[in-house]
Symmetry: D2
Subunit: 345 residues, 4 copies
């Protein structure tokens, strides 16, 4: 197996590389980086010393294109739009971790991302890689738009309930908290340790580009009229997302229906763990793993349901889900390279 990683020096790139090093198929991995061409990955990430001494290439040659089974693109949004179409046109299979191909609608993309959209053809061809919900299409896809970290945590919790008409789609409010690695390795004032430590910060109020991605997910199971409220906070930790999601139960529906819907939906899924009503969750219980843990509470006083969903944003929210998708595409055991037990403490 021949694998390429474009944008190998970002956090999801290096996490993906770590996972591939432990993959039972022992793929040959080639690293690409436009900014660090010629450098060794260990220059940037000394934790890889003696594990690899790979140098990084600037871009894929025709030869690479011919032999690569899969290329992961960990380049940022905007860059994927530019660099992937030629590779795709040449027939290569790509899993893109950026947001560029997640929305089918170029107008919507340009509105929320404030960048030119990718070519319509590839927008249209792209398969949304929410692994548990789209397996059949993922299997045969040429281009996977790997989901965003927040949409993964939120959609995995909400989709089963929407599908079974248990909650009122017009009442959805999701309040998400993320560690700093979610914002990537690039330097920014908000990511300076002295700014971020001992600080919980609200950002991108009502403007987060993951909003249309989630609404599109709801539309994909027929809930086309959802306009959700979504807030994002940075909390002082490196990894982890907790989404706390509020909605109203439909008349006649009970917490038992909720639990059953979640359990039925995920009983055959390895990476989603459904907990009983009123189970306290913390992000650390999925830290370093590809799990999404879900629980919920129903408040009789208010008639509102609250869902809790936790993931490791770099794994289930990025590199882990990408590898899961690769396993599906290559017809491998879904858990290959992903049997990661959460690290605690």
């Amino acid at each position: 197996m021949e694998i390429g990683i474009i944008g190998a020096t970002g956090y999801s790139g290096v996490e993906l590389y770590r996972l591939l090093c432990g993959h039972p198929e022992k793929p040959a991995v080639t690293l690409f980086s436009s900014s660090k061409e010629g450098q060794y990955i260990t220059d940037e990430y000394p934790q890889l010393t003696e594990i690899t001494n790979k140098g990084m290439l600037h871009k894929l040659s025709a030869d690479h294109i011919k032999k690569m089974d899969i290329v992961f693109s960990c380049a940022p949004s905007g860059v994927s739009t530019e660099i992937l179409p030629p590779l795709l046109d040449a027939g290569i299979r790509v899993i893109d971790l950026a947001g560029d191909y997640r929305l089918k609608d170029s107008v919507l993309y340009e509105k929320w991302y404030k960048k030119p959209a990718p070519p319509e053809r590839w927008l249209h061809e792209a398969v949304y890689g929410l692994s548990e919900w789209n397996k059949e299409k993922i299997q045969s896809a040429q281009l996977i738009a790997n989901p965003g970290c927040y949409p993964t945590a939120v959609s995995l919790a909400l989709l089963p309930l929407l599908k079974h008409n248990l909650i009122d789609p017009l009442t959805i409010i999701a309040d998400a908290k993320s560690g700093l690695s979610g914002a990537g390795a690039s330097l920014a004032k908000s990511a300076h340790y002295a700014q971020a430590n001992e600080n919980t910060v609200i950002y991108k109020m009502n403007q987060h580009q993951h909003i249309p991605e989630m609404e599109k997910n709801f539309a994909s199971i027929g809930k086309t009229d959802v306009t959700m409220t979504f807030s994002t906070h940075l909390v002082p930790m490196t990894r982890g997302i907790m989404a706390t999601i509020y909605s109203e139960l439909e008349p006649g529906k009970s917490p038992q229906n909720v639990l059953r819907a979640l359990q039925e939906c995920y009983e055959k899924e390895h990476f989603v763990r459904v907990h009983p009503e009123n189970t306290m969750l913390g992000t650390k219980q999925v830290y370093g793993s590809n799990y999404c843990d879900i629980s919920f509470s129903f408040d009789e006083r208010t008639g509102r349901l609250t869902l809790y969903s936790v993931i490791d944003n770099l794994l289930k929210g990025a590199a882990g889900q990408a590898l899961h998708n690769m396993n599906i595409m290559m017809d491998l055991d879904e858990t290959a390279g992903l049997q990661l037990i959460p690290q605690f403490p």
Copy 2:
């Protein structure tokens, strides 16, 4: 001025003592602690070395009761119910930082706190010490029920809007994030560093005893039918609360109305700072100060308003507000001892 602090070795007790050391009236402060009687406060808190070498007494003597101008009780919920009535009966003025006297209704108290309620007389006499909203009554009160940390952050943001009928009181959902000091100095698995670090945790789902306190606050301005949804999270930091509060604007109301209501309400208040719409807030901008900072966003897509409110839970959420109340009770400059500029970084 003679001041006593009961429960001086808890986090709000020692924070109050720090504030009183810097108070311009230079009050004489006596410390009481049932568990650390006879020890010096510096044994527990070496940061106070050379600033004081006070020993701690077990309880107030008749002589103390006679001469004390104010006693702060930083004892935990339940203990206040037991120890304060005799002091109050003897005529002493008390500011209680626990929850015991915050709800006027003993049935409600026992339901949420799962402890016997204090005597009806003192429940009835107690004045709720939300400083900006209750000044007149605070001034002449014998017993102040100092507000909880979460209710302070949430109520200060919501009350102006409810008062001006800008939001639908039936749609309120508050999602709060707190640092670990909010849970106090007592040892618990959830407060162990290795558990709490790199972890965001949901707790007391729909069961937090601050819920009836907030609903009572809304009722106090005529919104008697509110059943709010309230979630609390621990995030890995020591101090700080961020409350993210969702509601729906009433028909015909605009973000301009919201800003104006907040500004008018607090324009003469030193400790509440209102920011323009869409201002990003972080808990660190009030860290080490008695400020509550408030901003908001209105989302035209959804018609929902989101309020953001940040405080330092040990100051505006506990000791700072208690001292503010003391200043009001003693007819001092409200900001005496509280002119704390947030420490950053």
Copy 3:
């Protein structure tokens, strides 16, 4: 393969269990806990949900003793002294992660640990499990005294230099910094989040029980006259130890000698990575792995050599090294179950 873990609910116990779950031999693991008998491991550690649902037993039955290939004891110091001798007398092979059997000298043990020493027979039989330095004896040992976290980091750096007479053994000073997990899961004021966060603390000054363990290690290669100075600090992180070690180069010796000694010593060792002179190290580059990374600087101005050594205290400093020792004892690939690439960020 049948494995037992005594003290399974401590941090090194649960880390060991996590490693054994990923071990290619797929051992059957039985968990023992005196305090949590009858509970499920997932009650304490929800991260293990759906991975296991094992209940914990109080102690080993005769039947367990018969069939267990290896028992790991993660009980605290003092407890090992009590509970292991009967198991050992019954012939079982034990890897003890506590300090009880590390010092051969019962007088020394009682002086530093302030507890009664284990029976002389087992003190004498115990093989010190510093994997890279004691492989032959480990292979055939019945009882392994698994090294302490600090002695692992310090000894791996110093032993090659002492062995080659490159440094003056009378000049050794080691300054160590550890994350909070090193102190274990038990509740203590010093481990409360609000105490430990934003705090670097010195503790056990000149009294740390790991001092005689390190001096014994130096004596084991003939440096019997070493009295080292050793300081330990808690820094606000969960995992990781950095040891900064000062000594004077022997006359005529150079940094090149130092590098060569380190490289030769560890060139065939998988888990010790030697970096060139003046390489900056951080604990995070070994986080979540069984590596010990070593580098050094020589200062011509002062003639002093400084060694830097970093480990993950729960892996190379505890459970990882214990499993490495098990692999050696069972004649397995040394890296089985330990091919962990450091997790970053």
Copy 4:
């Protein structure tokens, strides 16, 4: 009183401004920033909202120069060399927080700082502002070279012992641990939250520019032959330095001599607190204050003395000490504006 702050948007600049806002002399403060000219300080530091709305000026006019009583320069090393001489030539009194004027020797400066040295005249005129050790000269100085954060912590602990010939000056090794704010507000990979969190890192091995500053301090009391070893680590916290300092007691000297020397030296000093032998120290006990806390241990086994010294790097290690020096220069109460009780937790 008229005060200027050059480089007001750095961490020590804004901390100084915070202190000056609380100074009893109520000085008029003008802010200067070459990079943020025309912006408001609250744009960068929203915690100052409603406390000030000052805009920042690019540089001092002739008028400023005439009326300013003191100018603090918080510009980085190198910039002070360029911008201060014209101001000094015009007769203004300056407290410089950078390293440029701390070494009297331009050759030494250029060697360690790798930048051109300031004019000899001002190098020569500059008075080193280690407040407790240089009061008389500080009082009448035109230019204060405010000490570095590490040299403050280390020198305050060592100078009394060197002065009384209690320790062998040839045996000094200082191992320092600092929070991230010490590296300033500028963006750097090492200060990215995801890099710095859960990481203890060694840096600038044997190359730190504070080494000659400390050796010069020792020389200033006659210990001219000291070449010390000095290591610096970043630990994951925002504020705080702990220096752990090793040396050998001179023959015939005892821990009692050490305690007495420290106590005598600092008994009249408000900001240095000497603790008894074997007192555990943590950086948090001085957090948010201008204190330097010192304790020590003597190890009979090794004959070595270990000193512990903790400061808040932004206060005693920068802005606090600068203000202390201003108070001395202006003949004010030394503690004016600095009566800060450490904030805990």
